[in-house]
Symmetry: C2
Subunit: 242 residues, 2 copies
């Protein structure tokens, strides 16, 4: 398929990314991957808090479509409906980053839940995870408005508070003491955040940004750290400014 | 009690506000009220995502304590413990605003839930509500970092996603079609957001800021608008930039 696209895609054709993640090993965000493999494409990305189930039922859903302004506006009209509302943005990087990172923080929140640490601790994990995301976004050229919007914060909240989220559910399993091997594999739901966590940490390190929560998630996934130890480590950081 | 405090409180004594809300009629935030009635007090405020139940059980909880820096640091040490972690801030206004406003947006999210609009729509309501809070905060001199932190976003997420929250539960009842009179009154749990919603809208209007979601909540609470109409009105806004 890719080789057909490579030779057959007319320059300037919009390609709307609907996947979320960071390329393993290279640490590239999906628009960066697209730029490498289909440089003639006009990059666009669709992301936001939207369970497929809710969209299919016609329940109201608000998402973000990012591309160059004229392209994004056109796509918003052609993809939108009375119940499915795409808001336009020009920040392709910010949308891609928010969509990838939220899966990692959803695992963190699931771990807190699974370990029985309470809803207050889960809310703190979302809040502190969001702060990490803003720090990394600033280095990558994402706009903070994007990260604070539907495709960033909105999707993070949805993914990190619902058992319908595969990534949150994976975190709950880890928090109860199961290993990644027990929770994933053929026939089990795919939780993209498990692959994204180490890639996110690596990409951040390249920009000189530390992500303590994402690092803890990656370490637990790799079997190098227990959930309780991870929580203790995060909580024992010195009392200081937020 | 107040007259005793007025005459007996030594100038510079820290007074830590632990309540959340906006004064009806005056639209004042609690530190502003404190400045009027106890001008000799050193104002401080404690807020953040923390159900009393979780704190009492010794589950990990992270909150914000705001005051002048030296005062906030001292209070963080005297109030903190291994599981109850106050992070320091100097933004008394931002902490007060976040704590008050989150109750209003929790009612909005409850309404979405009660009306059966789905988790995606609930996440969109949190995200769009948070955007309103940031716009108002900018006009009141709150720091966006504060609103994005534990006492703003963190507490909003906790309050707006848990049936243990009285304000969220009130919204669920409204969303199912009950009236405020049926859901409140003697013997029923106090949901501060019901009083805060109109006060927040009024205060924002004084600063030239529109809060469509808070306005919808106030109108539903006043019996002037149905939940479905409110949702339709919010969703029928034109497709545009976030």
């Amino acid at each position: 398929v890719l080789s057909q696209l490579r030779s057959g895609l007319k320059p300037g054709t919009p390609v709307v990314l609907c996947a979320k993640g960071i390329e393993t090993n290279t640490g590239l965000l999906l628009p960066e991957v697209l730029g490498e493999i289909l440089p003639q494409a006009e990059p666009a990305i669709l992301s936001g808090p939207s369970f497929a189930r809710d969209v299919a039922k016609g329940l109201p859903t608000a998402v973000t479509i990012a591309a160059r302004e004229a392209v994004a506006s056109r796509l918003a009209v052609s993809l939108g409906s009375a119940s499915f509302r795409p808001y336009v943005s020009e920040d392709v990087t910010g949308v891609a980053l928010g969509g990838a990172a939220k899966n990692v923080y959803a695992i963190a929140c699931g771990m807190v839940e699974g370990a029985g640490l309470g809803e207050s601790a889960r809310a703190a994990a979302i809040s502190r995870g969001f702060a990490e995301l803003l720090r990394l976004g600033a280095q990558l050229g994402a706009k903070s408005d994007t990260l604070m919007g539907l495709s960033g914060l909105g999707d993070l909240v949805l993914t990190a508070t619902s058992m319908s989220s595969r990534n949150f559910a994976l975190g709950v399993g880890l928090g109860r003491g199961a290993s990644l091997a027990q929770l994933s594999g053929p026939g089990k739901p795919l939780a993209e955040g498990a692959a994204t966590a180490p890639a996110l940490v690596e990409r951040a390190a390249r920009h000189g940004v530390e992500l303590p929560i994402a690092e803890a998630v990656a370490a637990v996934l790799a079997g190098k750290l227990g959930v309780r130890e991870a929580a203790d480590r995060l909580l024992s950081r010195p009392l200081k400014a937020e």
